[in-house]
């Protein structure tokens, strides 16, 4: 699984113990990481924020984990991920899964070509112990080590 994840998380796409004071800032952190790693434009960040504003916090898919994403569009330069751990958890308004400590940013060029990547991501996020270790990682290297 790990090769796919490490490739999807290009340089600049991981931030550890980042600071966000609300859900919007948390999504913006994921958006900035996707921009830094040349996956998206800043419009994509706005689209991710809008998605939550319009549809609610359904992207908080598991306890403590948000999967920030928007539709495939011209704002997506390449399929990829961002991974942000937060120093302080933030509330998204999810009844079942708040507060969020891990934000995964996802950009996909279409509806199908990232399916294998999603399988790897699913395998990672299902592993509660590994997720806890990710949350405790002090630097990007430690995160990469866990994904290997």
């Amino acid at each position: 699984m790990s090769d796919l994840l490490n490739q999807a998380l290009a340089e600049g796409s991981i931030s550890v113990k980042a600071t966000a004071s609300n859900w919007k800032q948390a999504i913006e952190l994921a958006g900035e990481a996707l921009i830094r790693s040349n996956r998206t434009t800043s419009e994509y960040t706005q689209a991710m924020v809008q998605a939550v504003e319009e549809l609610g916090p359904y992207m908080v898919i598991a306890p403590g984990i948000a999967l920030a994403h928007a539709r495939p569009s011209v704002d997506v330069l390449g399929t990829g991920l961002a991974l942000i751990t937060l120093s302080e958890p933030v509330v998204f308004g999810s009844e079942a899964n708040d507060p969020v400590k891990l934000v995964i940013g996802l950009a996909a060029v279409d509806h199908d070509s990232h399916i294998d990547l999603m399988a790897s991501l699913s395998e990672l996020l299902m592993d509660v112990m590994k997720v806890n270790m990710l949350l405790q990682a002090e630097n990007v290297e430690q995160v990469r080590e866990l994904l290997r």
Partner: protein, 90 residues
């Protein structure tokens, strides 16, 4: 049996729901076609689906569909998916 997994954008949550539902269906010995869809595709595919899998926040958008709606809170929790899918199938 037709199942659609629905999320807002059709690339994230619905794909995860589809994958994990397929795992669960296999253990239940149920053969079903599971499609991932965004809300607008769901409005087209939804009327012919037996079961609509989604997350609690999106249920209100899908309530007029004839199929049974199954809302999953934790998309990686195969136990939750199994329990709720089994209930919908019975």
């Amino acid at each position: 049996m037709k199942i659609i997994a629905v999320c807002g954008m059709g690339i994230g949550t619905s794909v995860l729901l589809k994958m994990n539902a397929e795992k669960v269906l296999e253990t239940l010995g149920v053969s079903a076609e599971v499609q991932a869809a965004d809300i607008s595709k769901a409005k087209i595919e939804g009327p012919t689906a037996d079961i609509i899998l989604t997350t609690p926040e999106l249920v209100y958008q899908l309530e007029k569909m004839p199929g049974k709606i199954v809302a999953i809170e934790h998309v990686f929790d195969l136990v939750e998916i199994r329990e709720k899918l089994s209930a919908a199938l019975s």
